[in-house]
């Protein structure tokens, strides 16, 4: 951490050794204080707005007051109710399925795009880069209504297809495909950004020397790029899964009434059915799923840090 008092000792060249030792200790204390101060606000926000409520939710769903009892006791009844309910189960599976398909499609689209952006520096590549970042600046609700107009019934796609004589277009609006299209569109900027950054870290010298000894494009991709881009790919994978799993706006407006993604289901259970415990149980299950992927993410990142040291 930069210390603004860094040059103070040089201003007083006549000071004795002991004074300079005290000064350096003061400096250390100061930078430690500064460090704590800077870390404190986000830490407090995390503790009070995320960890504490999450912990409370876990506790509340696990300790249930039995009929007639005065003290809540440890019970899995909320969770057995969730997994015993076929609608809840189908919503959970639906969410997992949508998430996996969305992330897979994101990789299929974004990986080639990132490789292209890594190796090309033409103006077209710059334009593509800008274009791939564009969704970053479009709010979810605007995107949802734009997509309804674009892929919806009598929308742009439908009209164009009819012009060229195809009139069997079945709209993905209010179907699972509608959610996937929306979430993929929304996820492209982040995925391309991280993958391109990861690919840029691969040393050009490595690739050139491989080519010098006669490696084919495929070989360069498989033996150099793929292993070296594993970590950014892992990061993108984890964060996309977590983001998609908890998506709300797009599944709400573009998806079917049944089954529903967990975000929509939670809101409905809480707001519509006025069943707080039920919504909380769903939240904890969603949180657990995301936590598993989160651990994967944290491990990937910490491993990277450890290696850099």
């Amino acid at each position: 951490m930069p210390c603004p008092y860094g040059s103070s000792s040089t201003l007083y060249p006549m000071t004795t050794q002991s004074i300079s030792r005290t000064a350096s200790r003061l400096r250390q204390t100061y930078s430690a204080l500064l460090g704590y101060l800077m870390v404190l606000p986000p830490l407090l926000v995390m503790v009070f707005l995320i960890f504490l409520p999450a912990l409370q939710a876990v506790v509340r769903t696990l300790f249930v007051k039995a009929q007639g009892a005065t003290v809540p006791t440890l019970s899995l009844v909320n969770y057995t109710a969730f997994f015993g309910n076929s609608i809840a189960r189908s919503n959970l599976w639906f969410t997992i399925w949508i998430t996996l398909v969305t992330v897979a499609v994101l990789f299929v689209i974004c990986f080639p795009l990132a490789i292209y952006l890594r190796f090309s520096s033409s103006w077209i590549a710059n334009a593509v880069q800008m274009l791939s970042l564009f969704p970053l600046f479009v709010p979810g609700i605007i995107l949802a209504f734009a997509l309804i107009r674009f892929i919806g019934p009598h929308g742009t796609v439908d009209t164009i297809l009819q012009l060229i004589g195809i009139n069997r277009f079945s709209t993905p609006y209010l179907k699972p495909a509608g959610i996937i299209i929306g979430l993929v569109w929304e996820g492209i900027p982040f995925t391309v950004l991280v993958l391109t950054a990861g690919l840029r870290q691969v040393d050009n010298a490595l690739i050139e020397s491989a080519r010098d000894v006669g490696a084919s494009q495929w070989r360069v991709f498989r033996s150099i790029l793929l292993p070296l881009v594993q970590r950014p790919a892992m990061i993108v994978f984890c964060l996309n899964i977590i983001g998609t799993f908890g998506a709300f706006t797009l599944p709400y407006l573009l998806g079917p009434a049944a089954p529903q993604m967990m975000g929509v289901y939670m809101q409905q259970t809480y707001g519509g059915y006025q069943d707080r415990t039920g919504a909380e149980t769903q939240a904890v299950i969603t949180f657990l799923f995301s936590a598993i992927v989160g651990i994967l993410y944290v491990r990937t990142v910490t491993k990277q840090r450890a290696e850099r040291r």
């Binding site: 015993g84 309910n85 609608i87 919806g152 929308g155 209010l174 179907k175 009434a257």
Partner: protein, 398 residues
């Protein structure tokens, strides 16, 4: 040891600083009312107004009501907040006010677009201010049918109707009763849509009407407050009815996620008939969002429910006079005409108190028969039942 001590003490200092920062604004806010009382004209006192109504209502509050009120009452400034889709909407704000009452703190809420009738436990807890002619003089004009509770004051009405495309549905085919509509839907698969009952009242009140249909067409048996299990068990017949038309609903049983998405399907010709709010469709017609070939009608046997939207004022509102002035202003002729002209709603005051030319212009929406669905726990039971039995054919616990 020394190093450890300095670290601990540093942490202590940091914590103390943070605590001081937290306490300071609280101390300031404690002094605020005193200074306000001394100089009433200096800064306008804030009235916090909350709504969870659809976009047409929140836009109207923000762009028409707020400026008009602040112009007439310069001593107030309206802080208008939309809580649509946030938690349980204004119910969450009411919960907050109740919690604030218990701890004697400022609920930061003066006026809520909220019907006290649906939640008797809040009335019992003494949360709401009684509203009548003594504190809201304009209340004398409000229609009797709209005064369902003394703890809320109706300010506008609307009703769910059927909107149809007159280019596709000939006049003589337009269903006149709910039973006719069911027949029409089955005879024209894919041509009718209603939105999910929890996502918009146009769908919710359509489902309510189906429930009325199977329970003897008597809306008065549904009383506000806790649900009647005997009546709830009859909901199954409504699910059977709605499940029966499920395959004939738009796109093999696709239900749009709100009032506006429903109107969109009608506007772009994907369907030829929907259930819609009177105010939203009239506003869309006047703005040209819906073509003028779209016609509205109401069942002749028993209309679909709607109701009067009321305002409620928590007793612990910090700016009580401002809250009462705001409610009174909403019932003024100026605002009641705005309800008609700007949002296509029904006025909450007697039609006779409005200008004559308006009365004749809006004869088509003048109605005295608006069944009211009690909401609250009844809606929760309705939504749950609909999702479990109509949207999917999976039963709970299977």
């Amino acid at each position: 040891m020394k190093a450890l001590f300095s670290k601990v003490s540093l942490f202590g200092i940091v914590c103390a600083l943070f605590l001081a920062a937290c306490v300071m604004p609280a101390a300031n806010s404690g002094q605020a009312p005193a200074s306000n009382a001394a100089q009433p004209a200096a800064a306008p006192s804030v009235i916090n107004v909350y709504t969870d109504g659809d976009t047409n209502i929140s836009d109207w509050f923000a762009n028409i009501v707020k400026p008009a009120f602040e112009k007439k009452y310069p001593q107030y400034s309206v802080n208008f907040v939309t809580v649509r889709g946030v938690g349980e909407g204004t119910k969450t704000i009411a919960d907050r006010a109740l919690a604030a009452m218990k701890t004697n703190s400022d609920p930061q809420a003066e006026v809520l677009d909220f019907d006290a009738l649906g939640y008797p436990e809040m009335i019992d807890a003494g949360l709401w201010q009684k509203l009548d002619e003594t504190n809201v003089p304009n209340a004398k004009d409000v229609v009797k049918a709209a005064r369902t509770t003394e703890f809320s004051m109706a300010y506008r009405g609307s009703q769910v109707l059927i909107a149809y495309d007159s280019t596709k549905v000939p006049e003589n085919e337009v269903p006149k009763t709910f039973a006719d509509l069911i027949k029409w839907i089955k005879a024209h698969p894919g041509q009718f849509a209603y939105c999910r009952p929890d996502k918009g009242g146009s769908g919710g009140n359509f489902v309510d009407r189906a429930i009325y249909e199977v329970t003897g067409k008597d809306p008065t048996i549904f009383k506000a407050g806790p649900v009647d299990p005997a009546l709830i068990s009859k909901f199954d017949d409504a699910w059977a009815l709605l499940r029966d038309i499920h395959p004939a609903i738009y796109d093999n049983g696709s239900y749009p996620a709100g009032n506006n998405p429903s109107l969109q399907l009608l506007a772009n010709g994907s369907v030829s008939m929907i259930s819609a709010w009177s105010d939203q469709s009239m506003q869309a017609l006047s703005k040209g969002v819906l073509p003028d070939t779209i016609k509205l009608y109401q069942f002749t046997d028993l209309p679909m429910p709607g109701g009067y939207a009321p305002l409620s004022v928590p007793k612990n509102a910090k700016n009580m006079q401002g809250a009462l002035d705001f409610v009174n202003f909403m019932l003024s002729q100026e605002m009641q005409i705005s309800v008609l002209k700007d949002i296509g709603g029904f006025p909450a005051v007697e039609w006779t108190t409005l200008p004559k030319d308006l009365q004749s212009q809006f004869t088509s929406v003048i109605t005295d028969k608006v069944p009211t669905w009690p909401g609250g726990a009844w809606s929760a039971a309705r939504d749950k039942g609909w999702y479990e039995n109509v949207a999917t054919n999976m039963k709970q616990g299977e």
